[in-house]
Symmetry: C2
Subunit: 328 residues, 2 copies
DNA sequence: TTGTAAGCGTTATCAT
DNA sequence: ATGATAACGCTTACAA
């Protein structure tokens, strides 16, 4: 049996109220009393029961992070950011993967029904839409990376449209006119915005957008990138450059290009998105749009904390950055 | 204010004990009573307070997973396995990254001092050693992937020695005699065992082991793989094959090889370890030793659950598998 | 089959 | 500056 606050109180010859006071560093406690209590705490190896504290304060000091895919380093970096600042504020991080619809549903129900977390950072586009559609607005949650422009839900993200435009503008500046676009799932805002950015750049350069140059494959897994590239490379005229909305897709695109006997960037230039760690290591190394994943996570938690405290919040757009490497 | 069990009881015209009974599906409750209660629960939108339940049962139905690096997909897969079966058993997963010594220390202290989790799955070699050294044995925890052979701590892992031997045997069978070995940190058991496997294979083939063919670089980050390769490739005679103890290191090795103007596998064959998703996508695709990451995670949780329940447990060795691709 | 009530370990209000 | 004590919402003997 672990020591309770009462054991400490008895040992120190004070009341539990006093022990609680030194525990929480609130109110005035006479220095001598305080050190007496601290000695007893040490002597008994006492640790406060988080469960009791949670019940009493109705706060778990935990947040839930909903992640589409644990094995995607993009999300890993964001989670790192979230955790780093959560920890600073005494919060712990509960993780749920929403890869499958079943998992997503369970997570959703738990999120709403049990109060095991004081708030939620949601990285999953589908769940974000669902939360908004269900009008979940009193519960403290924020969107990160993906978001809803018009809903009243705080988010942290980048300017996807401008970022995509930057990428395509770069390709145009290198003389490319036939530029393929590999998108994930256009139901998602980030995907819509990146597509808009792609089209913005083309229009600005006076280049006609060809519908068949746009491949939306519904996800960001490697094989989907290969699939998109196979389709794109079969087109006439064949694109001389391909912009993919994630590094994983870009890798798939390159793989398919190699299989087709094409050299990157000589025969087809490839630009990715995210700048995950492996982007620098791939052969050729990947030219990509870097998102500040770690900061995205940090800011998302800060926003969430404001919501938890009931303060008003305002969404944030963080800067992106184009990283020039070998693939384009 | 969310409805409490008392509200439900009042609404249904029964006692809180009865509500609790239908909540937990225990004891006999008359079907009519049960449905009456269930109606009230639905009507009031009642959800049990996990905090109160935790306090009462002194179980949080949460486990803590200590992970060296979130952005490494190897750990991501293991965490997925852990979470999948944890969820089946009604447990939630708390995540802490132990990348830095500071984070590691904090996590360690929290692990021991607060009872915010019913148990721990530890993936971090350093923390595993520390827990063992500190004689933490009454607290329910298990090691996963890394482990301690002689300590009395349950673990799930693979036969690292045999796996490494398999890899090197394969290289030998392809005619290689000058085989470099890139290890991470030989303070860790898995690293020691893989090195032993490397030496076993050499000995079995009657090939002399050269000390300078072994590079221990202290970690598995990409740049460390490049570093190791630069050293190895400067040797005389130059190794014609390199076995690295992780795919990330293997990728670094290949990168450095390309930079040195060498072709893989023609000039230098490369074998990795883990079979992370990108191993198949790299150019050339990576021949590697696949670990059953997902199963590792699943079994680790199962073992932990046994410990939590106070049942006796026995460590498990899961099968590995060599995956032949293009790099060797 | 159901109800009563004690108690889990805190925090916070009100006295003193 | 400190103490007594009432919650917080649940589970579980024990009683009925």
């Amino acid at each position: 049996m672990p020591a309770s606050i009462e054991d400490v109180a008895r040992h120190a010859g004070v009341s539990t109220a006093t022990v609680s006071r030194v525990l929480n560093g609130v109110d005035l406690v006479r220095p001598e009393t305080k050190s007496k209590v601290e000695k007893s705490i040490a002597a008994l190896g006492y640790r406060v029961s988080e469960s009791a504290r949670s019940l009493r304060t109705s706060s778990r000091r935990q947040i839930l992070v909903l992640v589409p895919d644990f094995s995607n380093p993009y999300y890993g970096e964001i989670v790192r950011g979230i955790e780093s600042v959560a920890r600073e504020h005494g919060y712990h991080v509960l993780l749920s993967e929403t890869r499958t619809e079943g998992a997503r549903k369970r997570a959703y129900v738990e999120l709403l029904q049990q109060q095991l977390a004081d708030g939620v950072v949601c990285l999953d586009p589908v769940t974000i839409r669902r939360l908004a559609a269900d009008g979940i607005v009193s519960f403290p949650w924020v969107a990160c990376s993906e978001f809803l422009p018009d809903a009243d839900i705080p988010y942290v993200s980048i300017d996807h449209r401008q970022a995509a435009k930057d990428a395509v503008l770069y390709l145009l500046s290198r003389g490319h006119r036939n530029i393929g676009f590999v998108n994930s799932d256009e139901r998602f805002i980030y995907a819509q915005q990146r597509r808009a950015g792609y089209e913005d750049a083309l229009k600005e350069a006076g280049v006609d957008a060809r519908a068949d140059y746009i491949q939306s494959v519904g996800g960001v897994d490697y094989p989907l990138g290969e699939l998109a590239a196979r389709r794109l490379l079969a087109l006439e005229p064949r694109p001389t450059a391909i912009f993919a909305v994630s590094d994983t897709l870009a890798i798939g695109v390159m793989k398919a290009s190699f299989r087709a006997g094409l050299k990157v960037p000589h025969d087809v230039a490839v630009v990715g998105f995210d700048d995950v760690p492996v982007a620098e290591m791939f052969e050729p190394s990947i030219t990509t749009l870097a998102q500040p994943m770690y900061s995205l996570g940090q800011r998302a938690f800060s926003l969430l904390l404001q919501r938890i405290k009931g303060e008003s919040t305002t969404s944030e757009i963080l800067p992106h950055r184009m990283v020039l490497r070998e693939s384009a």
